[in-house]
Symmetry: C2
Subunit: 346 residues, 2 copies
């Protein structure tokens, strides 16, 4: 190691504005953008600063894609599936029902061709997308009454996000779009019968357990749910190569760390919820199987009419089949055994 | 975004030497150190360069910890469990039998207190440790004859690394320490009866399938296997804060990417091996259960005589119990269902 004499160099001072789709109270998700900003600032000696605005501060939560596209903000932190109204293809960047788990999603993006496909898709929105966080498999949400059979889903008014809505609609559920802060009163009054949000740590903060007794798992519409930073392409291209690298690597760090946060924080939150009377219930095989069929039927319908969806879905589907083949061998047999031993000790 | 006029700043030119414990032919693992070097170089505008040496080029594969401790090299890329001869506690940084899977290991390190515990342990070796890669659950290795019962393990001469050796020794296996390049001829001649290495992609390159027919899973001694970069502490402290951050984040990127590489590359390698006649076999419940008991007995023995082991093990064990409790709910029930549907379609 040789420390050469200091030399003069030019590094521009750059300040970006990031619009988050999340409130500060969601410390796990909102926090990932803060981690990115801190790391980028440190790595560039304070030259590249990203100022973070919570949902609604400069742009509405669901207006962030348009704001990045137009250059109103430099970048945003959001979940692709909030924008399925524009195109369901956005959901591949976050979650599609019965999709990839967190590790498989990473494999698809970094080595399985997914990043190239998504970057091509996002070009139409002037966006350079960078993965930044994952929640892992979410919970299936809070229900005022037990749901055991398909019959119990008929007419069920449920707040649900992403492609879980259209999938469950095929089974008779009436999906509701309700912003985070409005869910609790709707569930309390019985305006809705059920809601899903994220998992024990985030759900506990919204207090759903006080107005709904049954907590179902798994959230099969979010086997993993990825967050991303969407950067205006022109702004991204204007960055010095050094700052681009610092941003990409800071996002990788935040991506790893957010998953770790959930995997740790959910444990004690789940314990507290169960201790306070929450009844944990697995979805029945009847419901899961019907939902799975409905999901893949929906994907075929999208493929028939949406070439952008079809292009990604065809590659994604083959990738998923491959991953399940390999995971079944080493990874799953290890997990299965470890869990079986642990259960037998209880 | 405001681009200020260029200003002069001082950024030292630093060149480090990294000793890898791996040959260049292990492109997945060796490649992770190359990714770190590339990213760090780019993020610092070429000022911080890390030159990588393959195993044996400047330091023997297993001499890298001593070389970093002494400052012979600035850092190394290796797996902690190669150094259990110094102290079995090293293994927590890589893998211990029936330990954490890849995601749980990340959770332990980044949010579960593991990083702090390991950094304290590594201080005694003048090392600042940074996670840099994971293989996921490995395969259980290649066997010339089927192993069905505990009786089949008695006297079995097997090349096995890490704490898998002492665990299997409790079941009558005779563990052998053989360097990568010497395994094939030993297995061919029958000097050993079995060997484990990594997984389909790496194992295929060494050709074990040509001299052993049975390929077992899972490698229960490596439910995940983490690689790390160990940096000489003084050298780390001498780095400008910017470079430290660039290094940390580059390692996070490489950490993510290596897991993705394995999850993708193992698929087709496994297909090719099976097509060429390899017989896949799951370890029997009898063998897995006995090995699990042997492992936790060994850990108790270490705890009784090694305070460094005990300090980490006590915390780690509680963390593992917690993680299994939570993963069983959402994550595993999702994986179980997806795999069950996929299998029923075959």
């Amino acid at each position: 190691a040789v420390a050469a004499p200091a030399v003069a160099q030019t590094a521009p001072t750059i300040k970006w504005r990031l619009a988050s789709s999340f409130p500060k109270s969601l410390d796990t998700i909102f926090g990932a953008a803060e981690v990115v900003a801190q790391h980028v600032k440190t790595a560039t000696g304070g030259k590249f600063e990203i100022q973070i605005f919570a949902a609604g501060e400069v742009v509405p939560a669901l207006g962030v894609v348009d704001a990045v596209k137009d250059g109103t903000v430099d970048c945003c932190h959001t979940a692709g599936y909030y924008f399925i109204g524009k195109d369901p293809t956005f959901a591949f960047d976050a979650a599609i029902p019965f999709g990839l788990n967190s590790r498989q999603q990473n494999a698809w993006l970094w080595e399985g061709g997914g990043m190239e496909l998504l970057r091509e898709f996002f070009k139409d929105y002037n966006i350079h997308n960078i993965p930044c966080g994952n929640t892992g498999t979410q919970m299936g949400g809070w229900y005022r009454k037990e749901v055991k059979t398909l019959k119990d889903l008929e007419g069920l008014k449920m707040r649900i996000g992403g492609l879980g809505g259209p999938v469950l609609a095929k089974l008779g559920v009436v999906p509701q779009q309700i912003a985070g802060g409005d869910i609790y009163p709707a569930l309390e009054k019985g305006t809705i019968d059920a809601t899903e949000w994220v998992g024990p740590y985030d759900d506990e903060k919204l207090g759903f357990n006080k107005v709904a007794k049954y907590y179902y798992y798994p959230g099969f519409w979010e086997g993993s749910a990825q967050l991303s930073i969407y950067v205006n392409q022109k702004k991204y291209q204007e960055l010095p190569r050094e700052y681009q690298q610092a941003l990409e690597d800071a996002c990788a760090y935040a991506h790893l760390e957010m998953q770790a946060r959930y995997d740790v924080k959910n444990v004690n939150a789940l314990r507290r919820l169960v201790a306070a009377g929450t009844q944990l219930r697995p979805f029945s095989k009847e419901i899961m199987t019907a939902a799975s069929k409905a999901a893949f039927t929906l994907y075929d319908e999208y493929s028939a009419k949406n070439p952008k969806w079809k292009k990604i879905y065809d590659q994604w589907k083959k990738f998923r089949d491959d991953e399940l083949l390999w995971f079944r061998v080493a990874e799953k047999s290890f997990d299965d055994f470890v869990h079986s031993i642990q259960s037998s000790r209880r």
